[in-house]
Amino acid sequence: MNSFYIILFLPFLFAIIVPFLFKYINKRIHTGWFVLFVPLTIFLYLLQYIPIVAKGDTREYILPWIPSLNINITTYIDGLGLLFGLLISGVGTLVILYSIYYLSKEREELHNFYIYLLMFMGAMLGLVFSDHILILYGFWELTSISSFLLIGYWFERKNSRYGALKSLLITVFGGLAMLAGFIMLILMAETYSIREMIANVGEITNHSLFITALVLVLLGAFTKSAQFPFSIWLPDAMEAPTPVSAYLHSATMVKAGIYLVARLTPIFAGSASWFWLVAGVGIVTLFYGSFNAIRQTDLKALLAFSTISQLGLVMSLLGIGSLAVYFGQSENGILFSAATFAAIFHLFNHSTFKGSLFMVVGIVDHETGTRDIRRLGGLMHVMPITFTIAVIGAFSMAGLPPFNGFLSKEMFFAGVNDVANAGVFGLEQFGLLFPIIAWVASVFTFVYCMILVFKTFTGKFRPEKLTRKVHEAPFGMLVSPIILGLIVVLVFFFPNVLGEYILIPALAAVLPMMQINASDFHISAWHGVNLELWMTIGVVVVGILLYKTLKGWVKLFNNYPYRLTLNHFYDQSLAGTEQFSQNVTNRYMTGSLRQYLVYIFAFFVLLLMGSFITLYGFQFDFSKFAPIELFDIAIVIGIVLAAFVVLFTSHRITAIVTLGAIGYFVSMFFVLFQAPDLGLTQFVVETVTTVLFLLCFYHLPKLKKNIGKISFKLTNLIISLAMGATVTILALAAFGHKVFEPISYFFEKSYELAGAKNIVNAILVDFRGFDTMLEISVLAIAGLGVYVLIRQGSRRREQSNETK
């Protein structure tokens, strides 16, 4: 086992010992300190791959799981995976550090929390390094589940449970769709390895399942990355403790969808459907998220919508970047690869600034006891450090210099502008929509960033609305956001360090078919006065205007009816599904034996008659049938007559007597058909059964007249006639369709073989003695059953007598 796997599984392994740590050591030392060691180790370990990957090398390892099915934990370390790996472990370290101060060691069930968190971390690492597509799926689902557990961490709260279920249902739904897509991919490429799929991409693109698989896989990515319209789970996921929100719902898990899209770009990109789905959904999400963020009053909800919007931005950039694959190694190709590059860059930046913002909100929440903007304000003076970090994060998000968000935002504008001129895939008509929507969304982004900072930290400080006495957070809690804030600033000034060592290898991994020339992707803060710059300036100007007039128009949001929201749709459909299911099920599961039997008989008749008529037709061969004699007819008349009496009588003795008569006649048939043993048995059994019936009559009520409505009787009549007809017709066909000699000729040697002159008896005790053995077992069980049933009854009665 390679040391890489030890690192990969370290979170899982460590999760096992967390409960013990919590139980025995937590009283003195916060469990988080031990857990902190895990992501830190991973981060440091992964650092060693940076030079390797930067050189363009990759590493792969194989850990056999089910080698005979070719299902192995194959991992592959390239630029993209490494970028994510570093983000996961890096942000993970900071988040755990933060959580140590955020979550009290006395009050919280820390072992659960850290187990979930470690599980999530491990799953996420596994996801980004997996090359095996099914393993990737596995880790994918694992992230959904750990996210479910983390959101439901405070499981006494109703909202937590609601949010947890919502996120689980939506992400797993996507996951299942994705699995279907993956299986199609596997069938198309006949391999489990993503790299081999990329290598054989020709077979996939020409396959008829291509589009289906594409849509299904994207469904998975969209649900996970909270793209419109699956974004609704993310705001509710904010019920999780803030460190979790910072980690899962901004920096890592929601990026899994982005990762997947980036990872599969070489397979799917280049087709119009991919472009339109990814870029289109992305840009819509961008708009939707930013638009909705403005009206939020809960800081975390605001951040959640901002996350949705930012993820949409990255997604749309990836979509635009996919045009590079279409254009290939050309000028246009390089132009659009820049969009992909921007996506990767913004993804990184988003993790940093959004992480810090979440932590800031967490601090505010922790110190003031509320996240409601309407109750907050003027915290700037009480919490200056927090305020500073908030400004850095928010301005970066708004795309202002000197923060890293500005750089990627500019690149984003460049990307959408290029799309407008791309001239393929119908962009001639609709291309212009991209820059317009992008710009409008950016304005909204700017506005909510301002809301975030200024509504919270400036204005009037109103301690009377807060439950706690507010002061600056402890230093430990501030460390993580400060580090993130520093990165935000540093990246602005030295973007190309990051670019060269991490982003460009990642880009090379996303677009393996392109020649990546590092000089084409040089990031510079100042690139002259161009359209993008003007757009940014426009955003700032209009944004400030809107922010100033916020009070005037934000009420407009309230006019939007709740009934038309996606959330409402989700709630309704969930409740509707439950109600519908219950109604449907109660409709046919009535508990009435008769109805069940009617279903069964009807099914029997329809299926068998249907197949008989369509497949076989009415072919009957009566030629080999035995002749009919007069005495036979007498017995037949007897049976039929008696059977009708059983049917019509409302007198139970008559019913039993006639049933006995039927038994006698049947055994007479056995005599006619030369079956003496059968005749004997039938007679004895019939008599004993009759005695049994009589014995039970003492306990059973008398027969009533056949009661019931006419329709009830008519249905019964039709069903039973159909049953009789089916059985008869099949019997006639089968009796006339003897294809083979029966095997019974063998038994005629019974005297030599078994020493018995009675063939039937020889079959019973010797040739098929096993049947007989089991049959007496059946008898024994029935006898036992009768005894048990009756004893239960008598005991019950004894008990009830005692209680009386």
């Binding site: 027969l703 009533k704 009661i707």
Partner: protein
């Protein structure tokens, strides 16, 4: 030899069947349980006796096979048929089964009037049908 066997057998069997048929006619035509019981038990016993004797003779003469089972069968029917008839009639009487108009004297009546417990109150013979609507 064979001819004689067949003739004897045939005669016995034919007589037996005819007696049985007559018994059946009696069973259908006679007016009440008790008389019918008389026809059924006496006559059909005789009928079966004839047929079985015929069968016995047939196997005895043609195969030289003397079947104890058949003898036993005849014996058994003779042993049980009257008892069965008796038990049925008693059951019928205790259940107040209707008697034909032609009956002259009911000797048991007095006895049962002395011991009313012997006669059942709840009658099972004619079960009253209860109409239950839902």
């Amino acid at each position: 030899m064979n001819g004689i066997t067949e003739i004897i057998t045939a005669i016995f069997i034919l007589i037996g069947s005819v007696i049985s048929l007559l018994a059946a006619v009696g069973l259908v035509r006679l007016p009440d349980v008790y008389t019918r019981s008389h026809a059924a038990s006496k006559s059909s016993t005789l009928g079966v006796l004839c047929v079985l004797t015929g069968t016995l003779l047939f196997f005895l003469m043609s195969d030289g096979y003397f079947s104890i089972r058949l003898i036993l069968g005849i014996f058994f029917v003779f042993l049980t048929a009257p008892v069965a008839a008796h038990v049925i009639c008693r059951a019928a009487y205790r259940n107040n089964a209707p008697v034909a108009d032609t009956m002259v004297e009911d000797e048991l009546k007095e006895y049962y009037e002395l011991h009313p417990d012997y006669k059942k109150k709840s009658v099972v013979v004619e079960e009253t049908t209860v109409q239950v609507e839902d």
